[in-house]
């Protein structure tokens, strides 16, 4: 485990050192960015709307019983910004995009395409990892923004439509505006960017160390998703503490 962590850190360091070359790979970054957005945006919005809705459904009646139904907008708003949107989008991206990255790079490793790049003096980290890392680090925070908006909207729909809560859109969004500020949204965006770096590094690392045939690719994909999720959930705690301190 420590060896893998060390390798992941070394890979991340190589990508950071290669950042000045990003302009040269802008075409590949845009392609990756489009693929990530295209694969995830609709699902991110639909999932987040339901997450916001469920949150309102679970907490709304309890708050209404206490005479606090007017506070539900702020509760959904803050929960989506600070925790649910970044973590859920990271999970979705690890499953959809991280697995695809590990599979693609893994199959290139197994079928000697990466060896072919090396023999042509083309650095696989620059050619394959750098564009993916930059794309996912930029795309995930954007998905988080869409997820926050969709989650707020889902919460509003349930709050207005549910007879147990029964508040208006105006009450919901006024409370949301009162309690949620741009710093809270930024909180979610920062988490999204950090989770993007984790998913990109872990998935590319697993792809690059793939051995064997199709079975090896399958193992790499599984490890990429499981390790990404584990690291996201562990780091989420520490990141939350840092961001709370910063607040």
């Amino acid at each position: 485990m420590f060896r893998s962590l060390g390798e992941i850190l070394i890979l991340f360091q190589q990508v950071v050192r290669a950042l000045p070359l990003a302009v040269r790979h802008s075409g590949k970054i845009l392609t990756q960015f489009y693929e990530i957005g295209n694969a995830s945006l609709l699902m991110a919005c639909v999932l987040s709307m339901f997450i916001g809705g469920v949150l309102a459904l679970q907490t709304g009646p309890v708050l209404a019983n206490q005479g606090l139904s007017g506070s539900i907008g702020g509760l959904v708003g803050l929960s989506m910004c600070k925790e649910l949107a970044p973590v859920m989008m990271a999970m979705l991206t690890a499953g959809r995009i991280g697995s695809a990255m590990a599979a693609e790079i893994g199959s290139m490793k197994v079928y000697q395409e990466i060896d072919a790049l090396i023999t042509m003096n083309i650095n696989p980290v620059h050619y394959l990892v750098l564009p993916r890392m930059i794309a996912i680090t930029l795309a995930l925070p954007m998905l988080v923004v869409f997820a926050i908006l969709a989650g707020w909207f889902g919460g509003a729909l349930v709050s207005v439509g549910s007879s147990e809560i029964g508040i208006s859109f105006a009450v919901y969004f006024n409370n949301l505006r009162e309690l949620v500020d741009s710093g809270d949204v930024l909180n979610g965006i920062i988490k999204g960017a950090v989770f993007g770096i984790i998913i990109g590094t872990v998935s590319c690392h697993q792809g690059l160390k793939t051995t064997g045939g199709p079975r090896g690719i399958g193992h790499a994909v599984t490890r990429a998703v499981v390790n990404s999720l584990a690291l996201i959930l562990i780091l989420d705690y520490f990141l939350t503490r840092i961001l709370l301190f910063w607040d």
């Binding site: 040269r24 693609e104 290139m108 079928y111 000697q112 395409e113 060896d115 072919a116 790049l117 090396i118 023999t119 042509m120 003096n121 083309i122 050619y127």
Partner: protein
């Protein structure tokens, strides 16, 4: 059946490349997964020579080739390119080397044209128009035209190998390594690949090291042949010496005794 006569050089463009390099392998040893794969191999390949390495499956031929291009580091011994260690960083920048992999190892997400031009594009050696021209020229050299827009998955095994050769030619190499260039190919495609290997020697004086277990191909193209068994060289000599050898072990290793 491939014969020596089939491997006459193809006509082609004149040489603008640097001359081939001399390779020295000294006491090369390598173990993988606790198994000793290479057991002290030593040999030399002269500049511009076609050197064929033969041997049964699992004898260490492909592992040797990966050492020669710098994809593996030896446990012991060294490889010299024109007297410089392959592990020194200057060798890669000083000498141009290419490898044609057994599977072709074309990038499946790129078209044939992008695959052949990837070296020039990534190292920014030519403008897009110049790359296009070079790619067309190299594909024509290996007898392929009008396939630039296709993806590797749309090509036959023989075509993929010829595209891989075209990709290696773009580098204008001084050393080309071929890993089983005729495996999985029909006799006609094998003949074409053999002709191309031979024509490159005459056209650009490249040093070629070919790993194969096809004796017909070896006799057809080689200046010298080495036979490896269990990580050791058991024969090294010219093509005529190889044809004349009566060593029963070599015959047993390279030729099938299956008689229908």
């Amino acid at each position: 059946m491939n014969t020596a006569a089939q491997f006459t050089p193809l006509s082609g463009d004149t040489n603008t490349s640097l001359p081939g390099v001399r390779i020295q392998v000294e006491n090369l040893k390598k173990s993988l997964g606790g198994m000793e794969i290479l057991r002290g191999l030593s040999f030399e390949v002269e500049a511009g020579e076609i050197f064929v390495i033969m041997g049964p499956s699992g004898s260490g031929k492909s592992v040797l080739l990966r050492h020669l291009i710098g994809l593996e580091s030896p446990d012991h011994g060294r490889i010299l390119v024109n007297g410089h260690s392959i592990e020194s960083p200057e060798v890669r920048s000083q000498y141009r080397m290419a490898m044609v992999f057994q599977s072709g190892a074309l990038l499946n997400s790129l078209t044939v044209q992008e695959n052949v031009g990837i070296y020039l594009k990534e190292h920014r050696l030519q403008t897009p128009n110049e790359i296009q021209k070079t790619v067309d020229e190299k594909l024509k050299l290996v007898g392929l035209t009008d396939i630039g827009h296709r993806y590797p998955s749309e090509l036959s095994g023989g075509m993929r190998k010829r595209v891989a050769i075209a990709r290696s030619l773009v580098i204008e190499p001084q050393l080309i390594l071929y890993d089983e260039p005729t495996s999985e190919l029909d006799p006609q495609s094998s003949g074409t690949i053999g002709k191309e290997i031979l024509s490159l020697k005459h056209r650009i004086e490249v040093t070629s090291i070919v790993v194969s277990h096809d004796p017909e191909l070896a006799i057809g193209i080689a200046d010298r042949i080495a036979v490896i068994n269990e990580g050791q060289i058991i024969f090294i000599g010219t093509t005529s010496e190889f044809k004349q050898t009566k060593d029963p072990m070599i015959h047993r290793l390279l030729y099938s005794d299956f008689k229908p």
